[in-house]
Symmetry: D2
Subunit: 366 residues, 4 copies
């Protein structure tokens, strides 16, 4: 109940603090018989890790070690425990502001909840915990790929600059998005976004944006009635990512401005199968997948750590004061949020596939 | 795992089909010692029930009966089971279209999942199941009121017409919203919304909108780290309501267009307590309540049942055809979604309050 | 968390009090496509209901009504809600002792937990709630029978009289057990047990015993490592039945007196398949089924309601006094516990079969 | 669902294989503000670790490292991750028998479940995973001690030799039990047990026994109605420990031979409080604690690894053969099971205390 696991039949538990010894996760459990190596995990962690001109200067190789659940190169069906040591933790950098509530962070709320707080960079509330999500998601993504399911995420919007890519070729979307520092598949927009981030960064400020994730080839029939709708649990998964303030499926908030005759996706036959002519539904009807692309979008708030002075309170003296948050922060977290949101979507989809019986407990006899 | 319960320590189970014998729920369990009568439930059900010029013509009194968990006018701490009989079920009305997939409905996805489907008005996938949510939510709301917590929902937008009410006096918001057929607290906008709905209804079409729910007086410290963030579970709860395509907290998608220096809510002292000068956070930081109003918004799609002809497929002959969905439908479901979303928010908040230990197992000794 | 559901992917929720309006359950959810009628449920309820010379004189027909989840004679894959009205509730009979703690009952513990208690025959703590377990178990048993799995329970011991039936023909065990009032498959022992119960009953006293349940044809491979072992969850399920004080699997407590060379079941080949020559394991090794009969035993305490005067406390005056519990009680609850324990075993097995993917979400396409 | 966690609001996740890199657990989460060091954990691990004349010759220091959740010597309220590296793993010792099914072990059942198995000493099914349970239990025990609750376990029976210690002074029971190699508080019986084990060990055979755990000072009112009874979840917890074949509460199986007038514990007043004159209930009535000692017993089967030749099957050639299990095994696992069962009991009690609201989320403000 303490919030540190996700999933029902495919469960991910995470642990670790930003400036503690390590962060890690337990994945309980992939089916037996999946080929799995540390390289599979590492390549996803590398997409998330800090570095580059637009990101935090914290130097973390984020090297992952698999501690259990893999034998002779294959998953055993028992928990895969993974660990990433924190190598560039600098807790002392936070000492000068340890009694100040950083605006936009969880400093005050953790204090209210637990009676004290780990002031070392936010402790458990830091986005550093998303390392564990990405590691777990790497297993989910690899597993889904065995069933032909692809997950591609990209930056849809930064600071009001929006791209509208053609999603028909998602391999190309992936390639283009991964080719630039903002993860935008539209290279012109990518350039504008980069410029905007640099401009804002120079002022010590930050910007937000929108991430979109597309899931292709999910079979119809996954998701559950009423409360555990596929879209409901995707919203749960994605809203749990730090800095997310909104989640949309398919048409999303735009549905409020469209009539039913435009919004309903016409039902058609394609190669003898029921399909939909448009995809306002975002691949989900009544909480259950309809075979079309699942489309999820997340609004990401501007990074709360900024070097512009802000009003705050000193909790020791209980007096109002100002804070300037220095340190190693991203002026825009959107590009690094992409693999994190992909991971949460992947974990959610695997969970539903297993509940529906579409991923068996062992891959060896199928 | 089959999707029919919600909550962790305060759990709601629902059951029933649109044109079956009854719908109902089990609330497991409110604390012992809460005064509870059928009137407490009925007044919330009455807010949701069909009728009026803008709603479905199905005649349901939605009279609730409490079957267990209340003794001598007080909850016992054991499950409260409630039932509402379906009195105006007309399954035969659906017979002519029982082999046609209704666009925008769950007909195809339930078929894909279960191998057959209850064609009587959608069966379990019908929004009629929300009767049970509202009944359960009535208990949650009553319980929260004992702890000074108020939940007020209203229509924020219909068909592009948006209201921006001043939220400082939520009693007045509630009163104004409940005074008109569209549940909009801005009476001028309410009139425009009504006119728009009538215009669309005449064409056999439908429209969507946005619901906003405000929760006042939630103490700081509820919500959990990482996955079970308060906002994450609110998104889960609200996205599980039929027709919802998007969920926002506080600034929501607008955060993508604001800089950090504007988005961060300044931390201040007010009567010696830590408070926030603005509320872009929507009352939640790092997934945990900060004491400010919790603000949730949901995008509601246009009702999929429309009498304009639509392309579809006959699953018996597996051929393309047209469908006209006649019957007793709402041209705009937004106003009736208000109490449903309030209910889901209330259930979620009670669950977190109990996990945090702020609502005890019995109210009798406190 | 309030204790009123059981199961993970196949869940049973129950509600209701002994002298309230009704008791009931929600089964969430059997796979779609199972033929199911009220008769299927009724025949199991009839095995449990009071009556006969050795049982309570409360007159309950225990007539079940299915409220949801069945359409055109088949389960839909959504929750099956069932209700049994209490027709012979006589709460007033408990008024004279409403301030006295009945020894051996939950009167004091419910009071301690909830701050007050439903004094009408124990309310929620009454064994009357097992009506709901048996109703849910009837669905589980029917479902298992589709997969060739049989569950047979019987009275193994009453008041020190023990039977040792040959389990090879379990159909015959079932037939013999159901032929007598104590549900013992050894007719000579059955007679002795009956005589003993009548003797004790005349003194106003009560006796306990042991129930054994055999599950045949469970495929090898169900159950989970570590905590959710099949035997662990069977112990959980069975110990949750009122009056159970112990649970054994296979050799049970006798294992403490045997050496390893005798206790280990030799591994052999039978028709080309791995089987075990003996069954001290009770069909479970490392928490996972091995294909042999699953053997569960439960110790049932003597009925606490006795008409012999007992020491107790009056909670109003907080003084020591005596109590004589009159009313409609069973002098030995063991025979009526048999279908209840079968039900809990069946629910547990279905849950594991679904988790292992051996029972699909729909029976229609298989 | 994969079986690797236990608990509802206080959850323990474990991972790791007998001859893999390490074993570990995540405790999610103790309340904030508990003083916690590695020494607190180590002293419990030392009670479980191999060594001594009657135990396995595997040399493991079982040195624990806390990886998260503790800051400045106190728990933070977030997950405590712990790791114990396997330093004396010798997987090659198992190579000669990797195609043979070891009788009494989980070899065949894991194979049936997952399609292949980790043959290195049982992998995940090895009792080595109980290291993680004891580490987690150490936190639970420390936490309970803050609330005055003591948990003492001891060997009640080995190979038919039974002790009946006076439980009134449990500190002395603990001291005596910890003073000898078999953990029996009756020193004469301890000697007989030791001799019996040595005798059996010389023959290459093994023996079983019974462990008893006493929990003192649990407040009345913990445990939940119906399914999540305190005794039900204790049975679940304890039966999940490797080698356990039976669980009893209070009178246990002996209740089958006693009449109600003897079995019911008379209700009395003691210092103005409701108490019970005897304790056949084992501290639990209707699934809820009554304030008396909670008494749990577990039957432990003889160690399945014996050096006497046994019938088995070679899974490669699918032919019958013989096996002699050499290696580093305990001739009697009972003494080392004591701290493991204590740990499971402690974890279960903490979970219920937190659900009842008796252990708050932070210890700092109380």
């Amino acid at each position: 109940m303490s919030g540190n696991f996700f999933g029902r039949i495919f469960r991910v538990y995470t642990w670790g603090e930003s400036h503690g010894k390590a962060v890690g996760c337990v994945v309980d459990s992939p089916p037996a018989g999946l080929n799995l190596s540390e390289e599979d995990i590492q390549k996803e962690l590398d997409r998330r890790k800090p570095g580059g001109k637009l990101a935090s200067k914290r130097k973390e190789e984020d090297e992952v070690e698999i501690l259990s659940g893999v034998f002779e190169g294959m998953t055993t069906g028992t928990p895969v425990s993974m660990i990433v040591f924190n190598k560039d933790a600098k807790p002392d950098a936070y000492k000068p502001i340890k009694d100040l509530i950083r605006p936009g962070h969880a400093d005050y709320t953790y204090l209210a909840k637990f009676g004290f707080r780990d002031w070392r960079g936010g402790g458990r509330s830091s986005a550093r915990e998303t390392v564990a999500r990405v590691a777990a998601g790497a297993i989910a993504k690899k597993l889904l790929s065995k069933f032909g399911i692809k997950i591609v995420g990209f930056t849809k919007e930064i600071a009001g600059i929006v791209c509208e890519p053609d999603l028909s070729d998602i391999e190309s979307i992936l390639k283009m998005a991964e080719s630039n520092a903002v993860r935008c598949p539209d290279l012109e927009k990518a350039k504008l976004m980069e410029e905007k981030i640099i401009e804002v960064m120079k002022k010590g400020d930050s910007v937000g944006g929108v991430v979109e994730v597309v899931v292709r080839n999910v079979p119809p029939g996954i998701g559950e009635p009423v409360f555990d709708k596929l879209d409901a649990r995707l919203a749960y998964a994605v809203m749990s990512v730090p800095a997310v303030k909104g989640v949309e499926i398919g048409s999303g908030f735009a549905c409020a401005k469209i009539t039913g005759s435009k919004h309903n996706d016409p039902v058609i036959l394609k190669n003898g199968k029921i399909r939909f002519e448009t995809n306002n539904a975002g691949g989900i009807l009544g909480g259950i997948s309809n075979g079309e692309d699942i489309i999820v979008r997340a609004a990401i708030k501007p990074t709360p750590s900024i070097s512009i002075p802000q009003k705050t309170v000193n909790i020791k003296s209980m007096s109002e004061t100002e804070i300037v948050v220095k340190g190693r922060h991203d002026p825009c977290i959107v590009p690094r949020a992409v693999p994190v949101i992909e991971a949460m979507v992947a974990i959610t989809i695997v969970d539903f596939m297993m509940i529906q019986g579409l991923i068996p407990r062992t891959l060896l006899e199928s």
